[in-house]
């Protein structure tokens, strides 16, 4: 059953075309990664799914979705537990406290619950951001290069953590990244966005749970090369020499 369905989606910023006649679907509990170069329309695609920008075409999304941004992922004026509790005012006090406690444990930040985001590392901030989204029990999660600003080591740990959470919760995830390796490691399916449209689709058949070792397998390398080539087919201007 399709959880997310997009038909003939186009987005224009004034006269500039950001996305052109895109079709997309993701089934319930599927992990889809979208790769593309800067300016290819990856972020715009997520913004259209979340209805943050005006678009033409049809988008069917679950009613309750969450989103994790690369920058400004959490509110710096709220503590870790206040960030997770944001928007849970309709719950009873006891239920809210339970949800916050549960998601603090999920993020492994129980001992940081009264800290402000500026006192935490980039990886910890992204964990709060994901925990905050999950606290609302969304049916779908949109993730916009959440680990783009992290170092390689932290990034690897965060990817593994995300997979553990996804395995436990089975949310539909649309994950945007410019990192091909990250996309293959995480997703069931990788879509390549180039020149405002999808130009390639790759089914990732590595068994789950996945470990870092698959990144060194010939199959992984072959996929990486195919996706890289798909990304390279572009009409964009060459860089100046």
């Amino acid at each position: 059953m399709n959880n997310i369905l997009v038909k003939n989606l186009s987005v224009y910023y004034d006269s500039h075309c950001a996305l052109k006649s895109i079709d997309f679907e993701a089934s319930e509990g599927e992990f889809v990664a979208i790769v593309g170069k800067s300016g290819s329309g990856k972020t715009t695609f997520l913004h259209a799914l979340a209805r943050f920008v005006e678009f033409s075409g049809d988008i069917t999304m679950p009613k309750n979705i969450g989103m994790v941004f690369q920058q400004y992922a959490v509110f710096p004026w709220l503590t870790v537990s206040e960030n997770i509790a944001f928007g849970l005012e309709n719950e009873t006090k006891e239920k809210r406290a339970h949800i916050v406690s549960e998601h603090l444990t999920l993020a492994g930040l129980e001992d940081k619950k009264d800290k402000y985001p500026a006192e935490l590392s980039g990886g910890q901030i992204q964990r709060i951001a994901l925990a905050r989204s999950l606290a609302h029990n969304p049916e779908g999660l949109l993730m916009d290069e959440p680990y783009g600003a992290l170092d390689a080591h932290t990034r690897g740990k965060m990817q593994q953590w995300l997979l553990d959470i996804w395995t436990a919760h089975k949310k539909t995830i649309v994950f945007v990244t410019h990192d091909i390796e990250e996309a293959i490691f995480l997703a069931d399916r990788v879509l390549v966005l180039n020149d405002q449209k999808f130009v390639g689709e790759y089914k990732i058949s590595f068994a789950r749970p996945r470990s870092e070792s698959i990144k060194f397998s010939p199959e992984f390398n072959k996929l990486r090369q195919q996706i890289f080539e798909s990304l390279s087919h572009t009409n964009s201007e060459p860089l100046p020499k």
């Binding site: 943050f52 941004f69 400004y72 509110f75 004026w77 402000y116 500026a118 609302h136």
Partner: protein
């Protein structure tokens, strides 16, 4: 200790130099009394009770004016910064009033409010409003979209978003605006008490000048300046206590 020495040393040197110049009659001591004479004048003002009543009246006008001007400035700034309809309706009026020197409206304010505290408080609030409004307006316009989008996924209430997202995100700008407002408030307290007042530090400076009591005039000026510095530091201290996240974010 070293820091304290660096803080106190220039002040001590300045006072010693001033005392020496005044006492050596390089300049007429009646026009430029030494710090020791000013200290005695200050003591006299304290014991007579005039300093207390003047300070109380000036500070009351200042606090009321700064609070009123800041509150209206913040609300208007948030609304014009985030809501197009408010920006369209209010910005032209504010922009026409903004270039007016606040001192120039005092005669008009006296006509409207009389010579009581109301006129002085209104004049101070009028002057404080503009830096607070422009800062809040610019701050509200610069709230990162990710904050607003993120909030919209969790709540449908525009009031909650304005109060719990836009306001705190704008707070560093508001704090800067209010600090400018406090400094302007002190100028306006002094100016508004020059005419139509029978108490206050501005009034005291004015009459001691006319009575040729330069020592008392400088003492009152010193107290006004000291209150200004303390008010700014108190505001910064209060802000850090109320909004501790601002300290971490600015590191």
């Amino acid at each position: 200790m070293k820091r304290f020495l660096w803080f106190i040393l220039p002040i001590a040197v300045l006072i010693a130099l001033w005392e020496f110049i005044s006492r050596s009659h390089f300049i007429n001591p009646a026009l430029f009394p030494p710090p020791s004479q000013i200290a005695l004048a200050l003591l006299e003002m304290i014991t007579s009770g005039t300093l207390f009543s003047d300070s109380r009246d000036s500070l009351w006008r200042l606090i009321a004016g700064v609070f009123l001007g800041s509150a209206v400035g913040v609300v208007c700034g948030l609304l014009t910064g985030r809501m197009k309809s408010f920006a369209t309706a209010l910005t032209p009026i504010i922009q026409i009033l903004r270039p007016l020197p606040p001192v120039a409206i005092i005669p008009l304010v006296i006509v409207g409010f009389g010579i009581d505290d109301g006129a002085k408080i209104f004049s101070i609030a009028f002057a404080v409003f503009f830096p607070v409004w422009i800062n809040a307006h610019i701050g509200a316009r610069q709230v990162p979209r990710a904050f607003l989008w993120g909030a919209k996924l969790f709540t449908n209430s525009p009031v909650k978003i304005l109060r719990e997202v836009v306001f705190p995100a704008t707070l560093p700008f508001i704090v800067a605006g209010v600090r400018i407002g406090i400094a302007i408030g002190f100028v306006m307290v002094f100016v508004s008490e020059l005419s139509g007042a029978s108490s206050g530090l501005g009034y005291r400076i004015s009459i001691t000048s006319l009575a040729y009591r330069i020592d008392q005039m400088i003492a009152a000026l010193f107290v006004l300046g000291m209150f200004g510095a303390i008010a700014d530091q108190l505001f910064v201290f209060g802000t850090r206590k109320l909004f501790p996240w601002m300290i971490f974010s600015s590191r």
